[in-house]
């Protein structure tokens, strides 16, 4: 079991800084997912932990030991790459056992460990095959077995599922989760897929443009996004954000004249300030009458329900309706925005207008 502590880590290539001072602590045995769009520095951060990239400044410690100057092999990390990076000329068994061979593990013990590991990932019958003869999912399993067999202190996953088709991706996701539950090894998983991130993470780290936007449990990040970026990135379809002005305590009014109530105690939004009102499509309530009137432009069927698309105060506004007897293609809807699900953001800084910033929020703030 090893914890990972990242202190004010920066990375620059020449004059361009791509990671701007990240502070994070990953508890031992936890499953951490770093989520962000491409180019946000998440892979760079992972590669700095692995030792494949130099750390420009700051410090990374694994199990209490600063690893800045250590070679990758001395850090006790095993990594699973996006394109698997299997050795094409070696059989599955040789691929899995290569790290052990390099470490000088005797042949008999090596074979036993390779076989045991291959069986746990369901590759027992494929030990003599070459990677070229395996399917994508099987190659991914070999890559995982190669990481598992070394019994590392930390697993690092660099978008390992993005080359798989949708069905396999879900299956492998479950296998990774199961694996973590069995082995309990600290794992860091990088992805740009929010579903993967939400489902796998004990701790979710959302990154954008080389900065940490928010750290927290997935449910917490979903329920209280700390910035507009997180609000838009987590959740599908993304949160609606509508410009409005505070017109009374606990009331914001949009340009279209909608009055939206919010929990006044939760937000620091004085009278007259401009805000962005956020509400998730799945939290908008459709009522028979008496709500706000929303003209519907088009409707998408998504199986579990429908997505009604319209515009409010000049910005797109999406409503998610649970599957039910509702009209398939309504021309207009009457909607209510429950106060407990309304978020307020500062249109200038993009920050959530929290009355009392949470612990994770302050940590992220100082990181930014």
């Amino acid at each position: 079991m090893a914890d990972i502590v990242i202190r004010n880590v920066r990375k620059s290539y020449g004059k361009t800084e791509v990671v701007h001072g990240v502070d994070l602590t990953f508890e031992a045995a936890s499953f951490v997912v770093i989520l962000g769009p491409s180019g946000c520095g998440k892979s760079t951060l992972l590669r700095m932990i692995a030792g494949l990239e130099e750390i420009s400044s700051g410090e990374i410690a694994i199990a209490g030991r600063v690893v800045n100057k250590l070679e990758p092999r001395e850090r006790g990390c095993a990594m699973v790459f996006q394109n698997y990076a299997l050795y094409p000329h070696m059989s599955v068994a040789e691929n899995i056992g290569y790290a052990l061979k390099v470490a000088g593990v005797p042949k008999a013990e090596r074979r036993a460990r390779v076989e045991a590991t291959a069986t746990t990932v369901g590759l027992g019958d494929y030990l003599d095959r070459k990677p070229a003869q395996l399917s994508g999912g099987q190659r991914q399993r070999v890559a995982m077995a190669r990481a598992i067999v070394r019994e590392p202190k930390v697993f690092l996953f660099d978008e390992p599922l993005s080359n798989l088709d949708a069905k396999l991706r879900v299956q492998m996701r479950h296998e990774i989760r199961r694996l973590h539950q069995r082995l309990g090894t600290t794992s860091v998983f990088v992805t740009h897929d929010q579903i993967e991130a939400m489902t796998l993470a004990d701790t979710l780290v959302v990154m954008n443009q080389g900065r940490v936007e928010q750290v927290g449990r997935p449910s917490e990040v979903y329920a209280r996004p700390r910035t507009l970026f997180v609000a838009g990135f987590i959740g599908s379809p993304p949160m609606n954000t509508v410009p409005a002005r505070i017109t009374a305590p606990g009331v914001a009014t949009t340009a279209a004249g909608w009055t939206i109530e919010f929990e006044a105690a939760d937000f620091r939004a004085p009278f007259g300030t401009d805000v962005l009102v956020g509400i998730r499509p799945e939290h908008v309530r459709i009522v028979a009458h008496g709500g706000h009137d929303l003209p519907v432009e088009f409707t998408e069927e998504i199986g579990t329900g429908r997505l009604h698309h319209g515009h409010l105060a000049g910005v797109p506004f999406v409503v998610h309706e649970e599957a039910g007897p509702g009209e398939a293609r309504p021309a207009r809807l009457s909607v209510q925005l429950p106060a407990s699900h309304v978020h307020l953001f500062d249109p200038e800084t993009g920050l959530r207008l929290d009355a009392a910033p949470t612990g994770t929020a302050t940590r992220a703030l100082s990181a930014a």
Binding site: E71, F81, Q82, A85, L86, P88, H89, Y98, A132, R150
Partner: protein, 297 residues
């Protein structure tokens, strides 16, 4: 794109047949000439059907040129040059592709520029160095005023002297570099994560992966080294060190005025000298084809 046009097919076949005739006809003439006796081969026109002197001609020329010993000389030189080239080319390409250091591109271009300088261009200085291998060091020491004794090492008439100047190769380095660049970076990173150092990665990952590449390079270089004529001619003065190609010259009609050319023997010798590189090409071809079939990344 696959087209189904019988006329076009016929035309391409005709062109191909013409190509085959152009390529094969000279060799056929060489072979036919080598099977006639001295009188028949000098007739005009020469018969275009093989004669009955095949075994006599080949046996005689084998004795006359001492091919038994000379072919072994050639083989040693060719294998030495091929092995040397492969090792040096792989190592220098490894250094250029996988290590980040100052002046990396300068070194690459220095190697690449020598690609344009064949041995013939630098033959005088190369000869001078081979004749007295340590002379550059002596010059430097003299220039610095250090009175150190440098022994004279003469590599003329040795295998080393025949092989070493032919070993440095820009072509091979370039070939390996291009191949190494196609290997995904993740493979090197995976090896790093697995704890393999650079030497291990080179020996256990890069070398096995470049087998096809190596077979191609070995074939080209073997033929190149076997066919060397000018360099052995300069370095070898001792008849025992002569190579097979050098012997050819001795079979072809001598310089004496009025001596008729013994073409039947010359042609027989030519074919004999061609056989080893031909065998190498045929044998290595199997590896090319296998390499091409197995190219799943």
């Amino acid at each position: 794109m696959i087209e189904r046009t019988p006329i076009l097919n016929a035309i391409t076949h005709v062109i191909m047949l013409i190509g085959v005739v152009v390529a094969v006809l000279p060799i056929a003439v060489v072979f036919i000439a080598s099977t006639h006796d001295f009188r028949t081969v000098n007739m005009v026109p020469m018969p275009l059907w093989p004669g009955d002197q095949f075994f006599e001609n080949y046996a005689r020329v084998w004795e006359k040129a001492d091919f038994g010993a000379k072919m072994i000389n050639s083989l040693i030189v060719a294998v030495g040059v091929t092995a040397g080239k492969i090792v040096i080319a792989a190592l220098s390409a490894f250094a250029i592709v996988y290590f980040k250091y100052r002046l990396r591109m300068v070194f690459f271009w220095l190697i690449f520029i020598t690609l344009m300088l064949p041995l013939e261009v630098r033959i005088v200085p190369t000869y001078a160095v081979v004749a007295d291998t340590l002379s550059p060091f002596r010059t430097i020491l003299d220039f610095l005023g250090l009175p150190l004794f440098v022994p004279e090492v003469n590599l003329l008439n040795t295998y080393t002297g025949l092989i070493l100047p032919l070993v440095a190769t820009a072509t091979g380095t370039f070939l390996y570099r291009q191949f190494f660049l196609t290997i995904p970076d993740e493979l090197a990173e995976a090896a790093k994560m697995d704890g393999a150092g650079p030497i291990r990665f080179f020996l256990e990952v890069l070398i096995p992966l470049s087998k096809t590449n190596m077979a191609a390079l070995a074939t080209i270089m073997f033929v190149y080294a076997w066919n060397q004529y000018l360099w052995p001619l300069l370095v070898v003065t001792d008849q025992d060190m002569a190579t097979a190609t050098m012997q050819l010259k001795k079979i072809v009609p001598g310089p004496l005025f009025g001596q008729p050319p013994i073409w039947n023997e010359a042609m027989a010798a030519t074919l004999l000298v061609m056989i080893p590189p031909l065998l190498v090409v045929i044998f290595m071809q199997g590896y090319f084809v296998r390499g091409l079939v197995n190219t799943d990344k």
